[in-house]
Amino acid sequence: MQNEWLYIGLFLVIGVIVPIVPLIASHFLAPHKPNPVKQSTYECGIETVGESWVQFKSQYYIFALVFLVFDVETVFLFPWALAMGNLPLFAVVEGIIFILILLAGLTFTWRKGLLEWA
């Protein structure tokens, strides 16, 4: 194919259809007798206490934020890693400077205690 991404698009379409087939089979073959007890929320056999939307620990958000910064950084590093073979040593040093700046950021985050607990 001229455009290999078209192939991947087709793969995506079929890859979404394939899991749906057993679900449809199950819809026709399985019994369907809902009643309130079966549909109640599971909490080890007892009634649920309180709303089922727990307070989320804010530390998760901080980890997601740090992850975002490093994700963007690795995206920048991919073309560098690819082209490094054809470039002089100076290019490698530039990439190393890039990584060192962000490692300094990670150390700063660590020292400020933001990576404690999750």
Binding site: Y42, I96, I99
Partner: protein, 406 residues
């Protein structure tokens, strides 16, 4: 090109001729041939997933010194089919208050994201879906869809346990994506290309595990964490939150999650083989000898790839059934305070040494020794740190009450 040497292209060409003989344009014939190829590839992946159900249960049984399924068929081989039938005919209970659309989409997206990886898995030098030039990043991208499906499942279940499990699982998956991406960059640097087929071809003389054993270790640890398998399986900590984010899923939907997880583990085993152990090739230049040219036959390469992938999968299972679970805060601090700095230092070192040593003949030895030295330095640092912690801990400990001997 005979059938023996180039099966896929031969069949595709024949199919295209048949379709054009029926009067279709070249473009449409191409699309339909590709469609048939895609369906075959996906069916192959699903067959592997079904076989893996049996492999997993037998192996876990042997690890736990018992027999495993042995009733249905010889050695219990037909157990997965019994499982599939059971899951299909089980009632599908949607809990009250669950968000129906998101609840139903999550298992489909989870399995679809794993199936998508099989578009680029190089089964042999002539048997693969498509060879895109950014194969390595593609692996990370479909992982993001897996993350999304976890959080969709956890939120839509309207269940405290599911939500807690989903948060922990997503936090783990995104945190360990950084060391995994860096570990994927190391074969990219050494091979000079991001396509998985290119990386496999670059290993035809020497496996990358010899050039960068720490890279393999890094990839293995982060892959196990991405999969959500033990020792990182806090999302389904049976004793704590009973199956985590897929607690409310019954019947085939749970089956889709389960099959997706097994296939994902096998695919990561396959990628371990492709990135570090030479994939379908890697015969150390043996296939160039006239006595061994049969080694570059596509079918032999397919068998070699499957064997290596199964070994990788076995290692992942071995880790799962031998190690206890790690607590969530230990998991995340292990990643951000140890693995990520180690990964970046390893990346810088690999880049530097690859550039400096490439023209000389010390390349292999130099890269291997640099990894060994780095590992030794890291172990020394850890040893000093843990000794310091232990001394401090012992200073603060209560003295043991001496019991008088009579």
């Amino acid at each position: 090109m005979t059938f023996w040497n180039d099966p896929i292209n031969l069949i595709a060409g024949w199919l295209r001729d048949v379709f054009m003989g029926w009067g279709m344009t070249a473009g449409l014939a191409n699309v339909i041939t590709s469609l048939i190829g895609i369906i075959v590839m996906i069916l192959f992946a699903m067959l592997i997933a079904i076989a893996l159900v049996w492999v997993e249960r037998k192996v876990v049984a042997r690890f736990q010194d018992r027999l495993g399924p042995n009733r249905i068929g010889p050695f219990g081989i037909f157990q997965p089919f019994a499982d599939i039938v059971k899951l299909i005919i089980k009632e599908d209970i949607t809990p009250a208050g669950a968000d129906k659309v998101v609840f139903n989409m999550a298992p489909v997206i989870s399995l679809a994201s794993v199936i998508l990886i099989w578009a680029i898995v190089p089964l042999a030098s002539k048997i693969y879906g498509v060879d895109i030039n950014v194969g390595v990043l593609y692996l990370v991208a479909v992982g993001s869809f897996g993350t999304l499906s976890v959080i969709m499942a956890g939120w839509a279940s309207n269940n405290k346990y599911a939500l807690i499990g989903a948060f922990r699982m997503v936090a783990t998956m995104i945190s360990y994506e950084i060391p995994m991406v860096v570990a994927l960059m190391i074969p990219t640097i050494i091979a000079g290309t991001m396509s998985v087929k290119g990386i496999t071809e670059a290993q035809s003389n020497l496996w990358f595990v010899i050039l960068s054993p720490l890279g393999l270790l890094l990839f293995m640890i982060s892959a196990i964490a991405e999969l959500g398998r033990s020792p990182f399986d806090l999302n389904e900590a049976e004793s704590e939150i009973v199956a985590g984010f897929h607690i409310e899923y019954s019947g085939m939907k749970f089956g889709l999650f389960y099959a997706g997880e097994l296939l994902h583990a096998f695919t990561f085993g396959g990628f371990m083989a492709v990135l570090f152990f030479g994939g379908y090739g890697g015969f150390f230049g043996l296939e160039k000898l006239s006595a061994f040219t049969w080694l570059s036959n596509p079918f032999i390469e397919l068998v070699v790839f499957l064997v290596k992938a199964l070994i990788g999968y076995w290692i992942i299972m071995w880790v799962k059934y031998s190690m206890p679970r790690i607590r969530i805060d230990h998991m995340l601090t292990f990643n951000w305070k140890f693995l990520t700095p180690l990964a970046f230092v390893l990346l810088m070192m690999t880049a530097l040494f690859d550039k400096l040593l490439a023209p000389t003949q010390f390349y292999v030895v130099g890269m291997f020794l640099s990894n060994v030295v780095l590992a030794w330095i890291v172990i020394e640092i850890l040893r000093r740190y843990s000794k310091r912690e232990r001394v401090e801990h012992e200073k603060n400990a209560e003295p043991v009450i001496q019991v008088a001997h009579h």
